[in-house]
Symmetry: C2
Subunit: 354 residues, 2 copies
DNA sequence: TTGTAGGCGTTATCAG
DNA sequence: CTGATAACGCCTACAA
């Protein structure tokens, strides 16, 4: 018991090359570079970060040394004195919802383009989780994108006071937002439905806290008014495929010949449930979704929907955020992106019923 | 001229509350806490990180002070001495591909559960981008998940030597992997097709570098052999809906009555194209996809597919990684997750043609 | 149990 | 243009 086995394995050290004594060091620092380059660490720092604050000659020496040592900056060491991490956060309401996939994608892609990396989190549709997550993130990232946030305007503004914040799918006074202009797409949709003889449109709203849901309903109402079509609204539904299934009965009961849903997920669930119940779409009832998510055109009939350029939103938000991070002040606070009707098979003429 | 105006403004200082002198400081540090708590900073550090290394009394004092000052640890300051960021990276081959959404979701969710935050990046299907990204990430995160990596085994092992790495959808010797066991699902699928009278199955492979694609083809071959069905293979196709459309002609030309595709995207594109060409599915040709991605059941007929539990893969990989991060050594290197046939409408009996 | 002192890898402020 | 030297905020032996 007193003698621990000296060597568990006597396997010879692989690749034990003496001349690489320091070259293979796990994480070479600017001190190591300084040593082989024969300069002061601070000079190395300058050479590697600032552009022309160092003579061309020593720059070369330092770069060579860095290359030889296979040096990589330590981002967190750099972040400590500077406070910048070259990182931005994205918080989505529900990572389960494909709507956000496009947003994530857009943000990630344009972030990478500008050498920023994406930190992703979700709020699980909870305002408090969202705020907590945001707060924690704030300490790590340079800026934050909030996609369809559920927390108070107040809290959002508070966050924005700390570091740049961009909000997607909601308008918050005093903070930069990118919001789809629903008016155009919705009026196109309503006009199309009206043109097909629909007299009564029922709207299936999403979560009550959803700013976007309210905006969409507003737009549906005014478009209907304009087109002299009656607009009715159901109770809030969970914005999922299953939520759509659940709402089918109420939709039927509404007596409308056309449905517009808060999002495509609802529309798809509704479509499935109606078809399962023997209802023909669009002959008996027309369905119009919202967003044009991935898979919206997989259904039969493919879903007519008001496309919201989600990917663009994510990209625009990231661009805006990164601009805020570099430029000092940019006046524009609200970016609108266009929505448009994507006419597919799930909407059409109203057929005489009896 | 000799008397300067004594007070430029006589306006009383707004909100000059003396007691908040330090309370409202932007970013309180453990030093601030130490001051108000009347202890040494190091004690604060202990109190806030270590469990029972501090007396209950002073702990209370410190916690109160922290709460009062609204203290939040600075993760990057903490990361510098410890080297741990409570962060893990996930690199996916193509953020455009819905297959990865579930993986992302699974990883994000279980990461959050264990108080880790997710850093997301994509390699755009490029081996070099992937390696570069991975290298850069390595400096910031505690561990890395590689989903369907495209780089060399060698490079992956090199990364894994630095920090814990878990690979999804590929087997790399010496590094932890979570891979769907395709055999079960595929043999179920082939048996089902054989049972429906199919004598010749054509397989549409994915990207040539895809380890998974090769495995799937292998499994299809051996399952077919076992079921005494002929298996043929087409050229590699882009694993997208569009790729699926493009391959329709070749599928038809193969003379097979059933197709199995590398993934669902291919299957869906193929389905659409065949139907557009007046071919009836599954009456004239059966289609079996792979993965069971979101939307696979939106089609008409809904897609029969070999489900790969993507979300589970993401979750399992994250769990494994986090275990590696906390526990010292865990022997298990390969986690297999089961695949299973999801029988839906796109496959069925072969009908006599003429 | 608590305080002291040094360090983590960079940047930043001064001199020189 | 370059070299010292002090932060940045926290952790961690080591000592008291």
């Amino acid at each position: 018991m007193s003698e621990p086995s000296p060597h568990e394995s006597d396997v010879p050290e692989p690749h034990s090359s003496i001349k690489r004594l320091r070259v293979d060091k796990a994480n070479p620092t600017i001190y190591d570079i300084a040593r082989v380059a024969g300069v002061n660490p601070s000079t190395v720092s300058r050479a590697l970060s600032k552009p022309g604050r160092v003579s061309a000659k020593t720059l070369k020496i330092i770069e060579d040394a860095a290359a030889e040592l296979n040096y990589q900056v330590n981002p967190i060491a750099r972040a400590l004195p500077t406070g910048r991490t070259n990182t931005f956060g994205l918080i989505v309401a529900d990572i389960t919802n494909p709507t956000f996939f496009d947003i994530i994608r857009g943000a990630q892609t344009t972030g990478t383009l500008r050498d920023y990396t994406l930190v992703l989190a979700e709020s699980a549709e909870s305002a408090v989780t969202e705020l907590t997550t945001a707060r924690r993130m704030m300490t790590t990232v340079d800026g934050l994108i909030l996609a369809s946030p559920r927390m108070d305007d107040h809290d959002i503004r508070a966050l924005a006071q700390d570091k740049p914040v961009v909000v997607i799918n909601r308008e918050v006074e005093g903070v930069s937002c990118v919001i789809p202009d629903v008016a155009k797409g919705i009026s196109e949709a309503v006009r199309s439905l009206a043109g097909n003889g629909h007299k009564r449109i029922v709207f299936v709203p999403g979560p009550p806290q959803s700013w976007m849901s309210a905006r969409r309903w507003d737009a549906v109402q005014s478009a209907c008014e304009w087109s002299r079509v009656e607009a009715v609204r159901l109770e809030s539904a969970k914005p999922t495929v299953d939520g759509g299934r659940r709402v089918a009965r109420a939709v039927l009961a509404s007596g409308a010949t056309a449905v517009m849903t808060y999002n495509d997920l609802l529309a798809i669930g509704l479509l499935q449930e109606l078809q399962a119940g023997g209802i023909s779409v669009p002959d008996e009832i027309s369905i119009v979704g919202f967003d044009d998510i991935f898979g919206a055109d997989f259904t039969t009939p493919p879903l007519t929907t008001v496309r919201s350029p989600l990917g663009e939103c994510g990209a625009a938000a990231a661009t805006r955020l990164l601009d805020l991070l570099t430029d000092a002040g940019s006046p524009i606070e609200i970016m609108q992106v266009e929505t448009e009707l994507v006419l597919r098979g799930s909407s059409g003429k109203v057929l005489a019923k009896s």
